[in-house]
Symmetry: D2
Subunit: 359 residues, 4 copies
């Protein structure tokens, strides 16, 4: 193990949010990382345990402002909201630091960003430099880069469940993506819908029927796979499939289940053939488990792995795929650290948690 | 209010199960009912409160065997498992009693039953006499009948979410039905998947891709609507649409959310047009709420109403419908009592709970 | 059933809060009530279903301001926060209306109020006129009164669990009250501790060790029982027992469990003797169930009854009592309507829900 | 890091239970351990992932029978039920293996075992050799031993919350221990009370008033502290304090909250003095966090640490202590591995998880 001096000095912005806590958990045990600064507007000058009692006595840092985090760090994880993150990423890059951005600010081509996020993008030149950090599809492109746009939680899970179909030209004309998402995905901010007494024993759809922003990431990734196969580049593709992505909140703290549907174009399909496509596609991916059994979200609770499975509905000719992730793990912090590892040529799973907490 | 003598003497089989408790709750407050006998194999000779502490001091009955329930009652609710219910229904009818069956034993034509339930049906002649008790579609047919087959919880909710589309010839070639169901739907029996520590913070698909039995009820009902419009008869229809029905367990005690998808055949759709179709279709139905807002399952927690809504996804041309029920209420006991009311020409909502418990 | 004209015109302040919804649920089915106005600062001019989708189509009212509610009503339920309620109660009484106050503003003698709520009381003369509405203890005093101070949820449950011991002079020198309370008890306001992702799978103590305001109600009630026996008057008592009341939040939407401890002063106790004391004490109380079995909170979920039980720990000589309530039912709205019934000489349980929702 | 050959060959009995999964999770990442065999009656000859999907691809073992586990291992963790474990421990020791027993079979003197567990103990001579593995109190005694009796989850948490009081002679005559425990504590076996639809939104007391077996561990430990101070020996003590220990099930997957009460014997107490006693007592214990803030169970979710805090209730003179653990971590597998580390002179926290999962 290296001495502290040779470790990478890492800072975290938005460290008092859920993805922030998940980043700290992983980076604390990462053999090549020294967490040097944590940022939070709300908890400034407070010790870490004020926001996160679970870290009492484990990391002796106080929250500081964004400038200080950037100054002290060689590489910064941005777990801050979309829209406000881009300027800080720009500052970090200007100062010669590296950036892994968990927000949506650099995931999409400028036009798509402006369409889905309904705001102008102030740093379009940085979009061009950013790599879309879905490691399983962009692994080679990530190595050595300075700016990673870590994908959204729903996008990640949806793309992992559909990528082998896209790769094998099995996507039909219609693609339905039905999502069940947990309350932590809505962030550590307040809102009536997140009140325990409102959310418990309740399930509700939101941003359905073409209104969820993660739609764009999914369509673009599927288009890239069709065009480039497996080793994708983060370039724009004009001709993209259209998906209907429909999320629902379920009373869970963590976890995403994505059930996707597309109609078979041919007649020779069955469960085994489909499963084999999935197994081949992910055979070298340590963070994607392909299994014949239908997946449970609990198997990836607090785990940085996703599980995918697939079924063929002979009666309706629908190919039905299932993908589960922990939205804060493979859907956020885990994937960000996975990107960090690939950028820096560390072992892909260093600092990560492979198994889920069950029960 | 009538004196006890003129009330209908009602018995409940399977009274120690979840639908049984929900039936007792409704029939206790029904002005035209006298609960005279409750059946349970497991709790025989025990007082009601042994199985159900919530009824302590409220109904002074002990569980007895099925024969006694049938003997003492004029009308029997059967909240017993499919497969074992039919012979008891037969006995009741032979003895001149009326039957409302919450099991699946008389919901389907003989062939469909044998295909989906993988067993021979011993009383096919009774199937012919049974009315499929989805009141909103079969109201006129139910009046005065002796045997009602009360629909399944998933079927009820799915059909209510799709019926206005079928009625207005808006169903596309492909129909996807994505279901999230709660743990009470799995019954009061034991199983590892129902253990709190396994089910909490967990979501998992089951019986997907053409393997869920409620599929047949949905397809048959949609076919009947296409053929007969609104006032359906419980007859077989050979030509039926095929749906892909895919249920998932979510960590909730009660509630079903059904999200259905079908592609628009024409281009002139929008949210308002669709909503109007729904409003017209259900304008005289006291137990179906049509609303523009997306529905929450909590709004029907312990309520005998369903809520439906609809959206048009312009990008993908998918019509997306949402329907929520309490699986033990409109999905089981509430609907059974609604059938009881229609059979006997009582007010449709007598004994029922209209509003949900929130929070 | 009376025609509408002869019903009591009832208004509800704070109708967009949890106790407000529970009041509407009960008053809607109350045969002697016409709900004429509902107040809410936050939802003013919005229809009821905007705040409470579960009531869609069931009560055609919009939220109005407090003045209008008072003006239109003969009797007003105040489900508004302590501190701000007293002036409105004063206005209502000045205008000749009756008031049932679910807040803490009139439950305690002036000095106690100022000590525990750390604010001056502006209407001490009204405190003198208010009756403490724990019906089981003050039933006779409530009849015909104009101002009822409906007790707190924790206080109600704790007092019901200890009253038979106080009545039979079985309270030892030390009295420990350990409380587990649910998230709805914290109100429909926002706070990080109520966020689903913070509250779920979490339990935490709060306001312990002499810091919970409900302590005063419990001590005063136990003192009154010692002095007056069963038919209490809402007068001050100087000499009171001291209790240590310690609440904890548990991840439940509804429900309170109070476990109380006091050491036996004599040696001749056992479970049966204690149970008999409890049964005798509550023999004429339709909303208190005494049972030998240990109680579950689920048996009173959405029910207006409390369940109490008692055990004698021979080894330690501790008398351990258990009491469960739904904090929004017997702990709030149910008890308020129970008071309404007693005030007006209606049946004590009119409009109430006796059995709990299980599952 | 050592090569595999120099690692300790470890086996786990009861590996398909909850403590078993938690042991695998810790031992998988333990630098000095090679898991060589896992035992399960129920899953025999099945791969690990059949019982535990979260470990898919992470440990390539099948479940075998107990004999094989013992034969292949140098040290065995016994996560099997009390009563059936002792004979297997005996076999393991006879074969020269070391044993860490998570069951209750060797925690108590023979007489106490027979009183509380209502069965004869067949291996009383092994009780004499067993060390009670509450590391914070028995650390020195554990080093180099062959048989560790790892404490119960409730006992561990209760003792940690009271030990500093016992050590400083602050325990009054009466000691009340109020426990809230989670559903995983009831094991991975079936039972109606563990059904999600019965346990969710429900809280219920069980084995109260002198009927919970963990009582004996607590009383004996408090007696030992009084007699020996801090470095305890696992010997019998006749004169013991009597506690009233009262557990309740709460709807959580993991976690224990213990709230304990004892009356101050002197008048000079306050929060600060008490807190200082706790801080001093645990100053060298890496798995016990002492904090001024009241503890949350979530801060130790999946963590091997306990958090303790204390308050003085001036009004009632009660000292109130709070202790939280994850019943499967510090309450079971984490403590067992902590014992393993101390036995073998490894770092005390090797293989353990210090921080909790939040949210």
């Amino acid at each position: 193990m290296n001495a502290n001096l040779s470790k990478i000095k890492v800072g975290i912005l938005g460290a008092s949010g859920y993805a922030g806590a998940a980043l700290i958990r992983r980076l604390l045990k990462h053999s090549q990382v020294d967490i040097v600064a944590i940022g939070s507007r709300q908890y400034q000058a407070e010790p870490l345990a004020k926001a996160w009692p679970q870290f009492a006595d484990l990391l002796n840092l106080e929250f500081v402002d964004n400038e200080q985090v950037i100054e002290k760090s060689e590489l910064i994880f941005f777990a801050t909201p979309h829209g406000v993150t881009a300027p800080w990423v720009n500052k970090a890059l200007q100062a010669g630091k590296k950036a892994i951005d968990l927000s949506a600010d650099f995931r999409l081509p400028e036009k798509d960003f402006e369409y889905w996020y309904k705001q102008k993008h102030e740093y379009p030149e940085l979009i061009a430099k950013a790599v879309y950090g879905l490691v399983e599809l962009h692994r080679k492109e990530i190595v050595g880069k300075n700016l990673i746009a870590s994908p959204g939680c729903n996008s990640t899970t949806a793309i992992l469940g559909l990528a082998p179909l896209a790769f094998n030209d099995l996507l039909g004309e219609d693609i339905i993506i039905n999502i069940a998402a947990s309350l932590s995905g809505a962030g550590r901010t307040l809102g009536l819908g997140k009140h325990y007494a409102e959310a418990n024993e309740n399930m509700r759809p939101y941003n359905v029927a073409g209104n969820h922003r993660h739609t764009a990431e999914v369509e673009l990734s599927l288009a890239r796979i069709k065009e480039m196969g497996r080793d994708l580049k983060s370039i724009d593709i004009k001709k993209r499939p259209i998906v209907s992505l429909n999320p629902h909140l379920v009373p869970m703290t963590r976890g995403i289940m994505v059930t996707s549907y597309t109609k078979a174009k041919a007649d020779n399909l069955n469960d085994d053939v489909l499963l084999e496509h999935f197994q081949k596609f992910y055979q070298n991916d340590p963070l994607v488990v392909v299994q014949a059994d239908l997946p449970n979200t609990k198997a990836v609770y607090a785990s940085d792995r996703s599980i995918v499975s697939v079924r063929y509905d002979k009666r309706s000719k629908q190919i039905v795929t299932f993908a589960v992730s922990d939205n804060l793990a493979k859907g956020a912090a885990g994937q960000a650290v996975q990107n960090f590892n690939i950028m820096n040529a560390f072992s892909e799973t260093e600092g990560l948690f492979l198994e889920g907490i069950w029960p």
